[in-house]
């Protein structure tokens, strides 16, 4: 692909791809790296038939390759924490406690999904249609509805259950004290 084609891809899909990867990885810097690598790989392709599903598929595979290296990931997080300090002066980002708790719950709930369900759901959230999701994940188009239905139900139910548990925990603590 020519540079200009990749630039067009970048402009069109980068935001969605980075958000998808951020949600998958829980780390935006990492997500940006993977997205960048994805576009670099697009550069090496002659042409892409289905651009969006190709990009999401390659990004997903890159994540999968990386996720295997658990040790690497752990250290990556340590480095990130270190770098966070360097970046703080540039972009302070106020986060409320509630928001942070909500995000933590959501992260747990998303992590409880099966990988395939999770990826399908995240792709759908970025607007990929069933055909594109099927292509990206190597599934049949007919199974996507079922996959998404399962993913959504599981996500919502897990999240609600954890939320209820948290509330009970808070309430229980109160009772014990009184």
């Amino acid at each position: 692909m020519k540079d200009e084609d990749v630039e067009r891809l970048f402009r069109t899909y980068n935001v969605a791809l980075v958000r998808y990867l951020t949600r998958r990885l829980g780390d935006r810097d990492w997500a940006e790296e993977v997205a960048q690598e994805t576009f670099l790989r697009a550069l090496r392709q002659d042409s892409l038939l289905s651009e969006r599903s190709w990009l999401f598929a390659v990004a997903t595979n890159l994540v999968r390759d990386e996720a295997r290296k658990d040790e690497r990931r752990r250290r990556h997080l340590a480095i990130l924490a270190e770098e966070e300090r360097a970046r703080e002066e540039e972009e302070p980002e106020p986060t409320t406690l509630e928001r942070a708790q909500e995000a933590a719950l959501a992260r747990k709930a998303v992590d409880s999904l099966a990988e395939r369900d999770r990826l399908a759901l995240l792709m759908r959230e970025e607007g990929l249609d069933y055909t594109e999701i099927a292509e990206a994940l190597g599934l049949s188009v007919g199974s996507i509805g079922t996959t998404l239905a399962r993913a959504r139900r599981r996500l919502a139910e897990t999240y609600e259950a954890m939320q209820a548990e948290q509330r009970r925990g808070v309430a229980g603590g109160g009772n014990a004290a009184s």
């Binding site: 935001v15 790296e33 509805g145 919502a156």
Partner: protein, 570 residues
């Protein structure tokens, strides 16, 4: 029909069922209570999971992710607003009022915006004779029609047409206040410099216009530059050519030795002025960042530039804040970020430390003046519409203890943790007054840029030496090395380096040739200084290493680097 399975319901709600199938589902749901309930539940699940996923984003949805590329786009839009405000000042007011509203983030408009960009890009000030007279004349003879066709794609400002007034009797009046007055005015004949153009394109335009022997001033847009010179304005060929090469009236800097491929231009430029047959062209090519146009404009983020443009189009003068940022020794500081608190407005000082913020509504503002290595200064300014406020700022260096650390990288080095620490000479240096030289520079032997052929564009590849560091994310992937010298620092003369792909990732980007086939590149971000040294024969891959030093902690990382010379075209 059987009851609908959950997957079908979701597919239907997602709008992913083929027409007739969707109709069948719809019909069934209308009749079957059980399935209607299932659909209602599915709707709830879809909404709930969407909401939960949104909570995963570290920023709320609909707020643009903090992506460099996107920021570059916003910056580009902002720069364009400044450019437009400047360009519009040269356009007759009554004509400007009829201009169509600009579409922001439109590729054509970005490229076409009369490309005076304060603080960005390179500048050509050259005198030319002959061949583009016809082009300008045609613009001049029919100002009204030229402007009627002046859509977003045609942003050419022709100002101050002294010598040609007889040819276009109406030009003086129709060109309106700014340029017309400039044409009449005789300004002192102090030589124009590139810096002038950058700092104040309007003034330069009118000054050039009123200088003797100069007929007109024209701001080139990208396509015209291409048509006239066969090169796009935003790239290095022009940048090379645009090294301040005027020796007489228009610039006070020497002809650059490197402008070989621009020999013709230089020859033209060096012809002795012939009265009445000379013109100055002020070209300010703008850089087009990778994401110069985007698919989904976030209008909320650019409302300010739009306001600026709207004001400019209406002829409403907004307030301007100008100033100069210096260090304690009154030396201008470049690349200082001056932001207006509570707004998205942010500019960076030029090489002389000067900045201009335009488009401010009247009122009180706070300026935050920041540069790495210096203490931030907050300055309150009162801005009145149509007025220019001058405010100068002195920054004092922060007393950061810098360390002399040399980190070298080699293929197959020991694992980072062991290897790096071993090589780290933990000898904290005394507090340094300037942050200019945080890493050892012994290996660098400065070479004048004129003796190097390294000016140009490069693709940078980085291979981390250790798996613990999966990427050097602040390393630019594509850079352009300009021949614009930066203010001298403690360790010699450096030149400007730019990140072509992600324009805002190379703050304080500097480079210098260190030999006939060797270059050194450095930049800073956060508390880190990065330095790349590569060498290799011309035309082949240059190899070298990257050092990245955390100034605060005196630790660093190293990597292998290759740099490949490439065309500067985007």
């Amino acid at each position: 029909m059987q009851h609908l399975d959950e997957g079908t319901i979701h597919a239907w709600l997602d709008g992913q069922l083929p027409g007739e199938e969707a109709l069948a589902v719809e019909g069934h749901v209308a009749e079957c209570r059980q399935c209607a309930d299932a659909v209602a539940e599915a709707r709830g699940l879809i909404a709930a999971s969407s909401r939960i996923l949104t909570a995963l984003d570290s920023v709320p949805r609909e707020v643009v992710p903090n992506q460099p590329s996107f920021r570059a786009e916003i910056d580009a839009a902002r720069a364009e607003a400044v450019a437009d405000a400047a360009a519009d000042a040269l356009v007759p007011l009554e004509l400007a009022a009829r201009r169509p509203r600009r579409r922001w983030f439109n590729g054509a408009s970005l490229a076409a915006a009369a490309a005076i960009v304060v603080g960005i890009g390179t500048v050509t000030v050259m005198q030319r004779s002959g061949r583009d007279i016809a082009f300008l004349a045609s613009k001049r003879e029919s100002p009204a029609s030229a402007t009627a066709g002046r859509s977003v794609d045609s942003a050419v400002s022709v100002a101050a047409l002294r010598a040609s007034a007889p040819a276009a009797p109406s030009a003086g009046t129709s060109l309106g206040n700014a340029s017309g007055a400039a044409a009449e005015r005789r300004v002192g004949a102090a030589p124009l410099t590139v810096r002038d153009v950058r700092a104040n394109p309007n003034e330069v335009a009118s000054r050039a216009a009123s200088d003797s022997g100069i007929e007109s001033v024209k701001v080139l847009k990208e396509s015209e530059s291409r048509a006239l010179y066969g090169t796009p304005a935003g790239n290095s060929p022009i940048a090379i050519r645009s090294v301040p090469q005027r020796t007489d009236t228009t610039a006070n800097k020497p002809v650059d030795q490197l402008a070989k491929d621009a020999k013709q231009e230089v020859q033209v430029a060096q012809q002795p002025p012939q009265a009445g047959n000379q013109r100055i062209q002020v070209e300010v090519p703008r850089r087009e960042p990778l994401g110069a146009t985007i698919a989904k404009p976030d209008t909320a983020r650019v409302d300010r530039p739009q306001q600026v443009a709207a004001d400019a189009a209406k002829g409403v003068a907004a307030g301007v804040v100008k100033g100069r940022v210096t260090d304690a020794n009154n030396v201008g500081l470049s690349d200082v970020t001056v932001s207006v608190a509570g707004t998205n407005t942010r500019v960076v000082t030029n090489a002389a430390g000067e900045f201009t913020i335009s488009g401010l509504q009247g009122g009180g503002y706070q300026l935050n003046v920041r540069r790495v290595g210096y203490q931030q200064v907050d300055r309150d300014v009162a801005v009145a519409a149509g007025q220019t406020v001058q405010t100068d700022v002195v920054l004092s260096a922060t007393q950061v203890a810098l360390s002399n650390v040399v980190v070298t990288g080699a293929p197959g080095a020991a694992p980072r943790d062991a290897g790096l620490r071993a090589k780290t000479a933990a000898a904290p240096a005394p507090a340094a007054p300037t942050p200019a030289s945080p890493v050892d520079t012994a290996a660098a032997v400065p070479t004048p840029v004129a003796q190097s052929s390294a000016v140009g564009c490069y693709e940078i590849g980085v291979t981390a030496l250790s798996a613990t560091r999966n990427a050097f994310r602040q390393v630019p992937r594509r850079i352009a090395l300009d021949s614009e010298p930066m203010p001298a620092s403690a360790d010699g003369v450096w030149y400007r380096a730019r990140d072509v792909a992600r324009t805002n990732v190379l703050p304080n980007g500097l480079w210098r040739p260190t030999g006939p086939d060797a270059i050194e590149l450095k930049w800073e971000y956060g508390s880190r200084t990065s330095r790349i040294r590569v060498s290799g024969p011309a035309g082949s891959i240059m190899r070298g290493n990257l050092e990245e030093i955390d100034r605060a902690k005196a630790t660093g990382e190293a990597a292998n680097v290759v740099a490949i010379r490439r065309a500067c075209e985007p």
